[in-house]
Symmetry: C2
Subunit: 476 residues, 2 copies
Amino acid sequence: MKKAPHDPFLYTQIAESIESQIQNDVLKVGDKLPSLRTICKEFGVSQSTAIQAYLQLEKKALISSKPKSGYFVCFSVHKFPPLPHSSKPFILGNNNDVDVLIQSVYNRVLGDDVVNLSQSIPSQEILPIAKLNKGIINAMRVIKGGGTEYDLIQGNESLRRQIARHAYAMQAKIKPDDIISTAGCSNALLFSLISVTKRGDTIAVESPVFFGILQLAKSLGLTIIEVPTNPQTGIEMDAFKQLLKKGKIQACILISNFSNPIGSCMPDENKKEVVTLAERYGVSIIEDDLYGDIYFGSERPKSCKTYDESGNVLWCSSISKTLAPGYRVGWVAPGIYKEKILQLKLNHSMSSTTLTHQVIAHFLESGRYENHLMKLRQTLQANLFQYLKAIGKYFPPGTSVSRPQGGLVLWVEFPKNISTTELYKKALKNKINIAPGKMFTLKNQFENCMRLSYGLIWNDKVEHALETLGRLSVLV
Amino acid sequence: MKKAPHDPFLYTQIAESIESQIQNDVLKVGDKLPSLRTICKEFGVSQSTAIQAYLQLEKKALISSKPKSGYFVCFSVHKFPPLPHSSKPFILGNNNDVDVLIQSVYNRVLGDDVVNLSQSIPSQEILPIAKLNKGIINAMRVIKGGGTEYDLIQGNESLRRQIARHAYAMQAKIKPDDIISTAGCSNALLFSLISVTKRGDTIAVESPVFFGILQLAKSLGLTIIEVPTNPQTGIEMDAFKQLLKKGKIQACILISNFSNPIGSCMPDENKKEVVTLAERYGVSIIEDDLYGDIYFGSERPKSCKTYDESGNVLWCSSISKTLAPGYRVGWVAPGIYKEKILQLKLNHSMSSTTLTHQVIAHFLESGRYENHLMKLRQTLQANLFQYLKAIGKYFPPGTSVSRPQGGLVLWVEFPKNISTTELYKKALKNKINIAPGKMFTLKNQFENCMRLSYGLIWNDKVEHALETLGRLSVLV
């Protein structure tokens, strides 16, 4: 595309290239054009040639300049009104549409005026953004090439050391070399599932369970058994034992601490028993311990990994729920599956994001993480109290709600006649986003349930949103 | 773990916790201990309690302080010498060991004194690190929460617009909405392969081919046919047509421009024909166009995507080979597979790394990328010339070498009796890292070949390394 700068028709060629981009919707009406400076750089031409090109487009009334802002596309040569997008029927109430529903809840570009109660992440105000930003600047200086280089395949050494140190609070014997860093916890779960199962295998999960786990398992061709789960103590041990005895499952995924969405925390004795039984029956445990650090009790709950002697537990976690979802920093301590997962990471992703992994390593090393967690727990616990109070006040009689001892989400069960899928649609019109219950199962159930994050700082707007949800719920 | 600060035995408990970490190898001899300040923060204790704890450990001679540096572990209670690591037999010459070989070439922590000719990435000196660092600071300020928030599932809007604009140089009609951002190109290839194949399917690839593609396809349970490939024009059209006619393959992966490792660039007419044929036979094309921007000719070569009218080509690329491998910024324009890949991205990774994707968006928008590419192409072309000259001078008679018109790697074919697996071992002892030919096949061939990156800036050290390789090659 680069031409010698003495070409007499150069500006025409530049103009034609841009006109063609407008014709082909690469540039749309209202889009800002590259600056003259950029055009000079990209085409290797003088400023006057760039100006000529833009003048030509202006003459055609395709672009126009705004003072101090630059050039904008003002007309497209398409003579007809734009074609409608391909239809994406959003017909709810049918179980096949759960995928569409999930994409709708998560993929929608929400305005700042929407109260988003659907995502289980803490709101920006609770995050130590300024400290993290400082950490970025520091990391950029400390690591070679400012993070442009590939990370080690196993992951940042300092990060792994800090995770091992941090994990010590739950009395699990994890060494730095036992850990592999990943792009968030979902990436850790993916590697774990691929390592311990093959297409056609059956796995057990809690019920209701985080939709990402269901979607992931489904995409790997696994059959999923949803096991009865108590909102306080987690997976029902009797049901789990039955499954093991029948030899039906090859692996199970447990959100052992403050399960998403039901909020349960498995008692220590259950964790221990699950680990012992799973090993006896040759079933691998993938432990999703994403919320364990957000405990409201006096100490960090233990994990299944704490009781793992043989390396049969793949412990997965991240800082996405406590610090910076957009950093993509997670990890897995995969026990005996370490070599398999190293190979997978090399093949699938080659490297983590070098910079953000270093930032988190240092954030943990400096003690800032513990410090932040202390505040986060306090804030979220206070939040939880307010949310529960408001639900009691505004939601219809007959509504039940979980009492999580940690984590970020509530599980709300409306009276049977209330459809949260309908509520979702009505709420969105009122600028409130929720996660309907049917997202958390493959069995077309929980139609009267929803997951509600209490990650948003409590204020009048949130209270008003809950009041509105209560009001709307009796209308659907 | 946190205790009330008035607990009289608090410092003992802190000391015990650290002692136990030393016992369990979480902290090893020589490791720096957390600062007193960190201990105070993490345990919520006073400075004097923290000092007491460290004094107790010092008395046991487990730790010692170094002036102005802090405390270090100086003795472990393990009485015995450390256990050797689990053995990882590195017996080469056997095809099953290719996985081990690849991990060895890539996973090894190399000292700064090693001349690394094995990785197809440009060296740090050629990268605009300072400008990228400025970009990080800028992005941190521009995006909400400094990049702590999840990115959009489809990816940063501005990045997608810039990629579409950039792709215009190869005359492919790609719109911002056709693109999905990914964690580098390997992630794009993974999503693409999962979308167009199922376990048991057969795919065609070039031969030799980037080992990551082979490993990825193998891990997805695919059968791989390695198709004869010309070092100038790429995949042999007759062989490809035969495959199509026999109805043997469901998809093919093509590194259409400056193939890794063989350096070929498919002529336009071949690209066009491949696209037409593949569509006729219902075979999907995954195009790995990772090197297309590093062309030494007068203009950017076109891609298969340029000729794709039906959406049957999944065009994958990234900035890992031109700008910042550690940023993990890649993308795919998946044609008709867009919805499938959006779903996969949601399930597998939820979000890209928000910060680095924004940095690259702005780098492209400002014209800095084009500017950088111009310099990069010049440098690499000059490099290529020097490398080729040195190979001619120092390598044994009968050695042949590719003449890439772009990209980053050379394919060297030694006389038949020379084993590059043996050369690899000898070279590593001489602090030179190469990529033996057998990494690039599943068929136990190319034993006398190797891939050599010319991404390292030409200097005496590199010349000496090539001279050494030449000398060693006749000894193996």
